[in-house]
């Protein structure tokens, strides 16, 4: 932001905290940007002629006689097709050594889509990962986070989803992204030859935390440009939203707001909703799908950040290491895609919902059996069979390295049912059973033979 000749320069800052400073000025608009001693800042409170500014870069070194210049406008991003393939910082300045992007200047964090102008999401996003496609099918226009502990490979899975999703544009919003992870994304996209349809806004761990607050809005302003103006299918990746929420807490704390649960601001729900609700399917074909990451501490989903997120997003994906098969799986119990009902059995084969539910129920029986086993109780024949089923189900379908078509996933499901269970135990609607139950010899046939073999 360059200084213009007629701009008034203030030089008397009265209050400085770690994230904010205040001064006396008039004619300032709410949410307007300013430059304080060379650092970008935004108006967060106006009380009479006292203006409170949030300093994105932190207030280190700001003197009381520092220069304050108001820009007269809220934060914005210049949008055009030239955004594609570029890397930017939280303010939208290039960090890849390339030139500034020319284009139409748009305010970030813009207005809400009228709900009656939205279309109901109905396009399936296939990822090849059965833990997602079979049990937690993604739909364009959906918003869904990975709830993951920091040691889990969520960025890898997210990159995999992004590349297989066949989106027109992928927009990466990195908040507190470690430099190594940033390079990982860059490499993966580069190797896949996908760089030309990727736009990245990155706040790395080296950058001041408050800057992060701009990243989701920057990423989504770019996403809206491609989805609304160009009718493109846009996939937005936001990692890590917990670090974003931490930045919100820092600012609200410095503004003396009363914290609610887990020291988070009382407005956390609305703040997160404003971001996630940008996910949308437009009738004209454009869409914004958001896949985010919310890191948990010790798997605690009752913490304010995952908790509020869960109420906003359309489901959540949990990763977990399955020690029986030694692989990371998509947890079928805690994961959920709320929009799957719009596509499963409709855009996919009719038996999809039944196979999915039956398999999860049997998998649940297996985990009960496992508890019995751990407590030293004898297992019944049924328990033993569920354990066998669970292991194969984990390996063949839930593991994140699976990459198959949805019909194949369903066939695999039926085969596992046939191998381990009777039709009554699987309890799927009769018409589906008669159509899809495999012909091969299964448990029921083996059982029928057994008595006769015994006689012989």
């Amino acid at each position: 932001m360059e200084t213009r000749a007629f701009q008034k320069i203030h030089t008397r800052i009265t209050n400085i905290t770690k994230a904010t400073c205040s001064l006396k000025a008039t004619g300032v608009g709410y949410e307007e940007l300013a430059i304080v001693h060379g650092k970008l800042a935004q108006v967060v409170k106006i009380k009479g002629d006292t203006i409170t500014l949030q300093i994105f870069g932190g207030t280190e070194g700001i003197p009381t006689n520092g220069e304050v210049i108001f820009s007269g406008k809220p934060p914005s991003l210049k949008v055009s097709d030239a955004l594609a393939g570029r890397f930017f910082d939280s303010f939208g300045n290039p960090i890849d050594g390339g030139p500034e992007v020319e284009g139409e200047e748009r305010e970030i964090g813009g207005p809400t889509v009228n709900p009656v102008r939205r279309k109901q999401p109905s396009e399936l996003i296939a990822t090849g990962i059965a833990g997602i496609d079979l049990n937690n099918t993604l739909v364009s226009g959906q918003k869904i986070p990975f709830f993951a502990d920091p040691d889990q490979p969520y960025n890898q899975v997210m990159a995999m989803v992004a590349l297989r999703a066949k989106a027109d544009k992928i927009i990466l919003g990195g908040m507190g992204l470690a430099n190594d992870d940033y390079l990982f994304f860059k490499n993966v996209f580069d190797n896949a030859g996908a760089l030309d349809h990727i736009v990245s806004f990155v706040n790395s761990t080296e950058d001041p935390p408050v800057e992060r607050l701009l990243v989701p809005d920057m990423a989504l302003t770019a996403a809206e440009y491609f989805a609304v103006d160009k009718n493109q299918k846009v996939l937005v990746l936001l990692t890590d939203m917990t670090l974003f929420a931490d930045a919100l807490a820092i600012v609200s704390n410095r503004m003396d707001q009363i914290p609610s649960k887990d020291s988070m601001p009382g407005s956390l729900y609305s703040d997160l909703a404003k971001i996630y609700e940008k996910a949308v399917q437009f009738p004209e074909g454009g869409s914004i799908t958001i896949v985010a990451v919310t890191t948990l501490s010790g798997g605690d989903i009752t913490h304010a950040v995952p908790d509020n997120t869960g109420y906003i997003t359309e489901g959540q994906l949990f990763l977990r290491k399955d020690t029986d098969i030694g692989k990371v799986i998509v947890d079928p119990f805690r994961s959920l895609s709320r929009l799957k009902q719009l596509v499963i059995g409709k855009k996919t084969r009719e038996d999809h919902p039944s196979v999915m539910n039956a398999a999860i129920r049997l998998f649940a029986d297996a985990s009960n059996a496992k508890i019995k086993q751990e407590n030293g109780f004898d297992l019944t024949d049924y328990d033993e069979r569920t354990l066998g089923f669970a292991k194969e189900y984990s390996r063949e379908l839930l593991a994140i390295d699976v990459n198959i078509e949805i019909d194949k996933m369903l066939d695999t499901g039926w085969q596992l049912f046939n191998t381990y269970f009777t039709k009554a135990e699987v309890a799927i609607k009769e018409d589906l059973v008669s159509k899809y139950w495999p012909e091969e010899e299964g448990l029921e046939e083996r059982r029928k033979k057994e008595p006769s073999e015994a006689k012989a």
Binding site: V28, G29, Y30, V44, K45, I46, K47, G48, K73, G110, P111, V113, N114, P115, V116, R117, R118, K119, Q120, P121, G141, V228, I258, S260, K261, P265, G266, S267, Y269, S270, A273, E277, K278, F282, T302, H303, D307, N308, G310, Y311, I312, G315, Q316, F333, L336, R338, I360, R361, A364, I371, K372, N375, G376, F377, D378, T380, D381, Y382, K429, E430
Partner: protein, 590 residues
């Protein structure tokens, strides 16, 4: 509100997000509406605190770029909505703007629309006659709105008695045309149209009495109707952690419940869920009228990314519309998803005003606010001896799934039915995930309700409900013992008890909301299935080993589930029933 000679004006002196402080030059009232004149738009706001001469106002829009010294105009009114024919099948926002009338993809700040269609002609039939004595809420005439009789009433704001001076003849009129004139005791004449205005935060109270609810509101959801029924005019709430199926359950209720009018307040929830209502309701056939469900539905949508202050208003707007239709003698079902978002909107505001916080930083008067809101529901005897009702079911989204948090606790005190959604049930995909043991319906304790149910469903109904709950508790206890002592550490009868409760669970409690037939079960069918299940529970079975129990009961469950999936009393249904009887015979005690 007392009329004021002059509308006050003011100037913005402070801005903190959507809380704006205004220095006012004249009298203002609590909850008065004002407009902040920001360059070419005006932003609607509501007074929430007064500290003369400063008014604290919450702005229903984003305050971006607002500067101090901006002009503010006060209106002299509280937040009012327009009541009249044409509300049904509309999609309003929290301030009763017609979302379909707004142009462009994005909601423009400061854009307000007329809620009702001013040009449409309605066929009016007079119900009163000239010379009749009328009071607020009296029916003057009737128009037909989407096949529903829509009463034209004396405005609720009027006090005292009036005489009908003139009344329009049968014919077509727009909402702007005069349809009646009434005179008060002093001879002053008031002209009336088909519409009136009402401040949303004030309950409409022009009725005779609110007796205790006694009549069942059929929802088609077995775990509600059979185990913990809600009455017409009753209140209930559904707390549950995310992912436990709150929204699916609410949608099922709105589609199936036996109500004349359905008002859905989508309060601070996901936009795609509202879109689902917008998309599906116009397509859904209304089993009651054979027409489309949307024709008797109004949706008040204030999604989570729409301005927070309007979120608070949206539940009041919805309730006021519900009360309006109740005054016509109709059965209204109002659903609000979720009241926690509304409470959070209150919290955000209280926080910005730097009020001393109550538990979890919610405002101190949260319990009172929630209680007085739930109190607006009820079964009502109108002044003309007709009845109308508002059944209200709200969802609560407890933070961290913890039912001890303030919103859940406050709601528990206000609502009579409690449908606790359990994470465990949801995790094992046992939907609807309403916990049968923790949930309750206080209506089952009402003498009137007991009599009504025994009379209309079956003379043993109440005792059957008690006994099925007993089997569930016994099964739960047995399962705990099995978990502690091991499968073979307990008598076989424990396994039988556990599996009998599983039969109840799988056949009565669980219901497939996405299956055409299973989604909604009429009460007659519920009675049949309950008796079927109870007869199994009351049967003694003999087993030699515990291993056989599970397998045997799974076969029973499978047949019963197939019955649930089949058309009632069809050949398929009966076929499975015959199979079931055969299975029972195999091990039945002599």
């Amino acid at each position: 509100m007392a009329e004021k000679a002059k509308r006050s004006r003011g100037k913005v002196i402070s801005i903190i997000a959507n809380l704006v402080l205004v220095e006012v030059d004249g009298p203002i009232a609590q909850n008065e509406i004002c407009f902040i004149k920001l360059s070419n738009t005006s932003l609607m706001a509501e007074v929430i605190k007064v500290h003369e001469p400063i008014a604290y106002v919450q702005v229903f829009e984003s305050t971006r770029s607002l500067t101090i010294d901006t002009e503010v105009e006060f209106t002299g009114n509280m937040l009012e909505i327009t009541l009249g024919p044409g509300i049904l099948s509309k999609n309003f926002d929290g301030l009763q703007n017609d979302l379909d009338k707004m142009e462009g993809i994005f909601l423009k700040r400061g854009e307000y629309t007329i809620p009702l269609d001013p040009e449409k002609k309605w066929d009016f039939i007079p119900l009163a006659s000239e010379g009749d004595t009328v009071t607020a809420g009296s029916w003057l005439g009737e128009v037909t709105e989407n096949q529903q009789p829509h009463k034209i009433m004396v405005p609720f704001k009027l006090t005292g008695t009036f005489k009908v001076k003139s009344l329009a003849k049968k014919g077509a009129y727009t909402i702007k045309e005069k349809i009646a004139a009434i005179t008060d005791g002093e001879g002053n004449t008031i002209d009336l149209t088909m519409t009136q205005k009402w401040p949303v935060k004030v309950p409409i109270k022009v009725y005779d009495s609110k007796p205790r609810p006694f009549r069942l509101l059929e929802t088609g959801v077995r775990t509600i109707d059979t185990l913990n029924p809600i009455m017409e005019g009753g209140t209930g709430f559904i707390p549950g952690p995310f992912g436990s199926g709150k929204t699916v359950l609410q949608h099922a209720l709105s589609k199936q419940a036996e109500a004349d009018i359905v008002i859905v307040a989508a309060c601070g929830e996901r936009a795609n869920e509202v879109v689902e209502l917008f998309t599906e309701f116009p397509k859904l056939d209304d089993p009651r009228t054979g027409r489309k469900l949307m024709e008797r539905t109004t949706i008040i949508a204030n999604t989570s990314n729409m301005p927070v202050a309007a979120r608070e208003a949206s539940v009041y707007t919805a309730m006021t519309i519900a009360e309006y239709y109740r005054q016509m003698g109709l059965k209204v079902l109002m659903l609000a998803d979720s009241t926690s978002r509304w409470a959070q909107a209150l919290r955000e505001m209280s926080n910005r005003m730097e009020e001393l916080p109550g538990p979890d930083a919610y405002p101190m008067d949260l319990t009172a606010i929630i209680a007085s809101f739930y109190a607006r529901a009820g079964y009502t005897c109108l002044n003309n001896s007709k009845t109308g009702s508002i059944t209200f079911i709200g969802t609560v989204s407890p933070a961290g799934g913890n039912l001890k948090e303030p919103v859940t606790e406050a709601t528990k005190k206000a609502a009579r039915c409690f449908y606790a959604l359990s994470q465990d049930r949801a995790d094992s995909k046992r939907y609807p995930a309403i916990d049968p043991i923790d949930s309750y319906s206080k209506y089952l304790e009402y003498e009137g309700v007991k009599e009504y149910l025994n009379e209309t469903i079956h003379e043993d109904w109440i005792s059957n409900i008690a006994s099925v709950k007993n089997f569930l508790i016994r099964g739960h206890e047995a399962s705990e013992q099995i978990d502690i002592l091991g499968d073979d550490g307990v008598p076989v009868t424990y396994h039988v008890d556990f599996w009998k409760s599983e039969v109840v669970d799988f056949v009565i409690l669980q219901q497939d909301a996405f299956d055409e037939i299973d989604a909604s079960t009429p009460v007659e069918r519920q009675r049949y299935m309950l008796e079927k299940v109870l007869s199994i529970c009351n049967t003694g079975f003999s087993f030699d080993a515990f291993e056989d129990v599970a397998e045997y009961f799974k076969r029973i469950i499978n047949e019963l589930k197939q019955m649930n999936y089949s058309e009632f009393e069809s050949d398929k249904f009966k076929g499975h029933e015959d199979q079931l009887e055969k299975i029972i015979e195999e091990r039945k005690d002599a």
